[in-house]
């Protein structure tokens, strides 16, 4: 699965790091590092983390589970 965190919005509440520690880690006191491509097995964890973010900074791929979003092709 694919995620991106809007770090200009992130205020380091660390809810995501508690709920999905494989995908989100705190770096120092309040800086967040994340895995933009966490394992699909972590999907529920990651969705819970995204829902729990107080500033709603975590965006999860909306196309997951339907057609793969790969439309890109060399022309």
């Amino acid at each position: 699965m694919r995620i991106v965190v809007d770090l200009s919005r992130c205020e380091g509440y660390a809810q995501c790091a508690f709920l999905a520690p494989d995908a989100f880690r705190m770096h120092g006191e309040e800086a967040l590092m994340y895995d933009p491509s966490p394992d699909d097995a972590r999907r529920d964890q990651v969705l819970r983390a995204a829902a729990a973010c107080p500033v709603q900074a975590i965006l999860v791929d909306q196309l997951e589970g339907r057609d793969a979003p790969v439309e890109a092709s060399p022309s």
Binding site: M1, R2, I3, V4, D6, L7, S8, R9, C10, E11, G12, H27, G28, E29, E30, A31, L32, M33, Y34, D35, P36, S37, L59, V60, D61, Q62, L63, D67, P69, V70, E71, A72, S73, P74, S75
Partner: protein, 463 residues
């Protein structure tokens, strides 16, 4: 598009081309579909593969945690576009509304969005830049190559340039326990963006983490061995250092060369546009059908005296993309201005650095909360008695407050009735090297929350 009927027809059957398929391009494409545009959408990009996110490249990718190929951006919705990837655009014809591609194709459009971004500034001597072990960091391929070189355990890394990217890479090298020299022309790291006071803090942080930081020096030559591998760097003070990896972090070059001769106001500073992201011609006229967003856009900001400002900020790319997309499919009475206050973040040496506003637009700076020596503080920037920016080190929760102060042209230094009062909050000169943005002028305030309601009104002058 002068009538509502025309606009409806355009939204239904029009042709939109987006040149530049990175963050701004993708977000604009999604926003266009979200606004109900059902016509043809073409995405042109010079790199192969889907749009990906760049900030992780100089952070979690270089630590080895995440692979460069795994930073593809998530999609908010299906954009149903035709993707022309791996081929750069080479020209734009405003008379015939055609984008020309490097492979000779001509792509017609009714409206076009330019979001071609910036590329890494290469080392200035081509043969030295081509040495094995010399890197820049902008694309996935760059990050992948550098991460491999760091994983191989180099005896020393040289980072040239201590701006944000250079400092982030320095931080990661130390995290990986790699001996490191950082060379910076200015008196301290980050000083060009944040001024002398914060520069001193950044220098302390680097040295405390074992960085051999050399400021006020210029690298004059990168020397290779017989196998063409980088081995030694020469400085303008006559000294040398031995290293096997050199990272050139000297900022970016805006991708505007392809617009030469197009008649647009495009150059090394970016493409000038209005707050509605409509491009300006060389004569300063607003175009009807050419829009700009992201790192390559140079947009006036009323808060900063209507100066045209280009920003290489993630949030700026997203916000401009959304404003541009909205305006591309809206009549002129419904258009939005891009009146956002710039926001920026960096993660280095375990510290979360964020800024709001334009710190270079300042004559004074004062610590308003916390303690500089603890690397946990907020510093406010002021220009002629009003707040124009703020920088936080591990204190991001306060930045919304400072954004309000900036938008309402609050007096500087701002009162800060917080528990973490600094010992000394006397303003000091901001001290940027070289020419700065300073000038006189009226101030304005921004009102409204929804993008459609954001408006500027003139305010009285503070000093």
């Amino acid at each position: 598009m002068t009538s509502a009927d025309n606009l409806q027809a355009f939204k239904r059957d029009g042709r939109i081309v987006i040149v530049g398929a990175s963050l701004a391009g993708l977000r604009a494409a999604e926003a266009l579909r979200g606004e109900g545009f059902t016509g043809s959408l073409t995405m042109i990009g010079d790199e192969l593969g889907e749009p990906y996110d760049r900030p992780p490249l100089s952070k979690q990718v270089l630590t080895g945690w995440v692979s460069a190929g795994d930073t593809t951006l998530p999609r908010r919705r299906d954009v149903n576009a035709e993707w022309l990837l791996g081929v750069p655009a080479t020209g734009l014809d405003l008379a015939t509304n055609i984008v020309r591609l490097a492979d000779g194709r001509e792509i017609p459009f009714d409206r076009v969005l330019i979001s071609t971004g910036v590329r890494a500034r290469p080392w200035f001597v081509e043969s030295e830049a081509a040495l094995d072990g010399v890197f820049v960091v902008r694309t996935r391929e760059h990050a992948e190559g550098l991460q491999r070189a760091l994983a191989a355990g180099p005896s020393r890394v040289l980072v040239i340039g201590a701006g944000f990217t250079g400092s982030e890479i320095a931080s990661i090298c130390r995290e990986r326990d790699i001996p490191l020299t950082v060379a910076e022309l200015a008196p301290a790291p980050l000083v060009g963006a944040l001024g002398a006071m914060i520069g001193e803090v950044a220098a302390d942080m680097q040295r405390a983490h074992g960085v051999d930081l050399r400021c006020g020096v210029k690298v004059t030559q990168l020397e290779g061995d017989a196998q063409g591998h980088f081995r030694r760097a020469h400085f303008d003070d006559g000294s040398t250092i031995d290293a096997d990896v050199a990272v050139v972090a000297l900022g970016g070059i805006r991708n505007t060369e392809w617009l030469r001769g197009s008649g647009l106001a495009a150059g090394v500073w970016g493409i000038a546009c209005d707050t509605g992201c409509r491009a300006l011609t060389l004569n300063g006229l607003i175009t009807d059908d050419i829009f700009v967003a992201g790192d390559v856009a140079r947009c006036p900001n009323p808060i900063y005296e209507y100066r045209l400002i280009s920003l290489e900020h993630w949030a700026n790319a997203v916000e401009q993309a959304e404003v541009a997309a909205h305006n591309m499919v809206s009549g002129q009475a419904d258009r939005w201005p891009h009146l956002s206050i710039p926001l920026f973040w960096s993660i280095q040496f375990g510290v979360n650095i964020k800024s709001v506003g334009v710190p270079t637009f300042a004559d004074e700076v004062a610590v308003t909360q916390g303690s500089v020596s603890d690397h946990r503080f907020v510093a406010a920037y002021g220009y002629r008695g009003r707040v124009t920016a703020a920088v936080s080190f591990n204190n991001a929760k306060w930045l919304d407050h400072y954004r309000n102060l900036i938008e309402t042209a609050a007096p500087f230094p701002p009162p800060c009735p917080t528990p973490d009062q600094p010992a000394d909050m006397k303003p000091v000169p901001v001290d940027f090297p070289g020419p700065t943005l300073l000038a006189q002028g009226a101030t304005v305030v921004v009102t409204g929350h929804d993008p459609g309601e954001r408006r500027v009104t003139a305010a009285q002058y503070h000093r």
